[in-house]
Symmetry: C2
Subunit: 527 residues, 2 copies
Amino acid sequence: MTPPRRKHFGWGREGEAMTAEEEAFALATYRRLFAVEDFATVPVPALADAPLRPPRLTPPAALAAIVSADRHERALHAFGKSYQDTVLGLLNDYASAPDLVAYPRDERDVAAVMDWAGGAGAMLLAFGGGSSVVGGVTVDRARDRPLIALDLAHLDKVREVDPTARAARIEGGVYGPALEAQLKPHGLTLRHFPQSFEYSTLGGWIATRSGGHFASLYTHIDDFVESLRVATPAGMIETRRLPGSGAGPAPERLFLGSEGILGVITEAWMRLQERPRFRADAVLLFADFDAAARGLRALSQAGLHPSNCRILDPQEARNTGAGDGRAAIMVLAFESADHAPDAWMKRALECCADHGGTPEQAAVGAGSAGARWRTAFIRMPYARERMVPRAIITDTFETAITWDRFKAFHEAVTRATGQAIRDATGRAGQVTCRVTHVYPDGPAPYFTFHALGRHGALLAQWRAIKTAASDALIAAGGTITHHHAVGREHRPWYDRERPPLFADALRAAKATLDPTGMLNPGVLIDP
Amino acid sequence: MTPPRRKHFGWGREGEAMTAEEEAFALATYRRLFAVEDFATVPVPALADAPLRPPRLTPPAALAAIVSADRHERALHAFGKSYQDTVLGLLNDYASAPDLVAYPRDERDVAAVMDWAGGAGAMLLAFGGGSSVVGGVTVDRARDRPLIALDLAHLDKVREVDPTARAARIEGGVYGPALEAQLKPHGLTLRHFPQSFEYSTLGGWIATRSGGHFASLYTHIDDFVESLRVATPAGMIETRRLPGSGAGPAPERLFLGSEGILGVITEAWMRLQERPRFRADAVLLFADFDAAARGLRALSQAGLHPSNCRILDPQEARNTGAGDGRAAIMVLAFESADHAPDAWMKRALECCADHGGTPEQAAVGAGSAGARWRTAFIRMPYARERMVPRAIITDTFETAITWDRFKAFHEAVTRATGQAIRDATGRAGQVTCRVTHVYPDGPAPYFTFHALGRHGALLAQWRAIKTAASDALIAAGGTITHHHAVGREHRPWYDRERPPLFADALRAAKATLDPTGMLNPGVLIDP
């Protein structure tokens, strides 16, 4: 049975949406927060009304079978899932829509489409699940070259499984659930579960240095990449399958985070794990976010490597239904395929107790804070398409900072974002924080903000808040992104973060691999 | 008190050498192995007789105070510590000696020397401890540009310590012992202890992706690098101090393994740890190397992360005094500053027991196999200068391979190397193996070979064996180096291992950062 097609506006497939109960909960929260009775709501334009210009190029006969000019396909590939993308969809602004969408069946098709694009002077956008929240797939509307979206959905197979080294050769276009379903009969799992899991792909995770399931140690997809195959306009690159090497700069690391500007990841050997048999879970309450952060620091420096150790500030805990707003919360878990992690959990609880962390009573089970948080986490992406039409501005941004600067950093970013909300919208909003990943030398905080905007000014208001928040991040020493990637929306701050000479080196590497500058222009660097 | 100066030939400082007892043990072993009474020995040429050509350039007045044309200094900087280097020294072949040696006091001096070298059309060799065993500091004799060695010995300070995030800003030229001595008052340690620890530097470790203390998890220096400052001919590069980031390809990773061709690492923020308070040690005996490898695989895939879990084949155990040659040995240890690793060790011993691993009786203390192995390991570098004059060819090489291919790989490499010894020298030698580092998806085996050569043919014989071994490594799917680096001696096989288009990208990056190609030419790529 074929599932319904993806929505061209919003998250997931046609027919999927927030439940009435979820929507009512969110709206009640916003009514309280903004002290309003109801929201001025504008309708979402129909797909039939999307102003798509006629395609400016025609595929060669040999590629005609895999190229589509279908209205729904073009609209679907016009955007990722950022706040800005959603507003543009609501404004019926489809200037970023590709002229055509190509669906390669294999690497040869990928190379053929690249050749065609090169000959036609077109731009080429490698498109995985299209879940970018940073403008990663929204090619600059000002460019006048035709655009082909290269959707890798047919490169969706696990090609080879090595049970001894626990690795698999996997095509780049496979979505999360299909990937795990193919590994399951082997008792293996990649265990990479970003929030976008259902609608993002292996190649996309690698290209964006995606952050996943593990809150510590294996925070990004990076360390799970054993080798890569990358199609570039200059030819194929294949790195050697190795558990480790010291032979020059690691070639995989040039493509990890390359966001589609150097090549298209067609295949990767990925390091896998056995499916966990043992788990230990706890939810801890702390007096406040600072105390939770101190407990988290102790834990992160103890060498215990929990699979989960996320902390939520009291308001964030309340908004997600994980707490009542009076305490900060830590969701803590160890998992293993090899041993019961009792000694690990025992010591972790001691680390937390040193900073006042006390276990919640009903820590495990469907009704627990941890389970409530996980459910809210998975359902969150469905909210945006319902809130934007109501002029609610809600977005997230994430970063990382060393422990010595964390407290001042958190205060500065929260203050700047809150002030920007008041300045841009004329009323108070809300800024909350959790920590999603953690290292011995510092946390990766994740901020969420909520503001009530005004139709007609939404983009400008959002941009003013985003700018103030990003300015504060960079000024206070953080990174513009820990795992959402750079895309186009983070470019100005990435330009300030990354060393100018590194940009020059990257530009030179790109000129070698992509001489016509066809690949995803506008992201990371200007060729 | 100033220590004696470094030897220009051999390991360590003047006055340091193998003890008579160590030498007698080694020679007795070789007499038995090669069935000879004694060894034809040639004398080591005196420093005064080293044929150094007159320097081809003169420093500008502003740099005169930090530049030396001293005979000992030039001879010391002519070579690393590879087998080939040692033979060349014995042959009194100093064609690779630099014209001058510069000792910058700070980053400004580094930049000034680069400017001078650029203007003078000279080559510049960043020199740390000079412990390369792969020709990393031996600039191609055929080149006709003058050569300046840039010795970073004065950049030897820990500049800043952050006890909260547990990190320090450290200059690139600091040697291992001086680095740890400066960290010790803070209760912190880098815990990076390569065999060359005493005579290698932080910048050298980073430039070569050095492998250190930890047999699992933190196998290379890579993950301890928080940020870098790199002086390039095009200017300074400074990356941001962050615990993690997903903002584009990681800039640090371009310089990790760059072997001095892109810039000079002047400073790094390094991730540190508290000094361990708890330890658990064991030595396990296995029926043979295969059984030990199966035990090691089980351990490596259990998620226990031992600090040490090295396996030695029976002959290697015997040669290093760690065993009697009847069993393969595993040296196993857990360490922690936070908790007693009893549960970890208990489970590790179970993993080993599943493959017949039984604990040695006297596992701990000065007389144990582990202690004997550690002592032999630290003293090994002193042997070469005593064996080469006796025409003994002994060298090591290391690699990595996934578990599924390990058994066939080990057999193929051992067979090819043994055959090459017979072909090149006309008599049998010995090839042994240990595993020094391990990953869930595969081990990093480390081979040692011993052959009896002939004066006048030593280099050709060594090269024939090295070539056969390296051909076998690459043909069987390994990497040409896991942690010794590429240098000039591994170049032909690195060229086969690394994707050609990655070489092109690296070449383009180098042309941007080092437009005149002054930095360490001949290593990794040809500009």
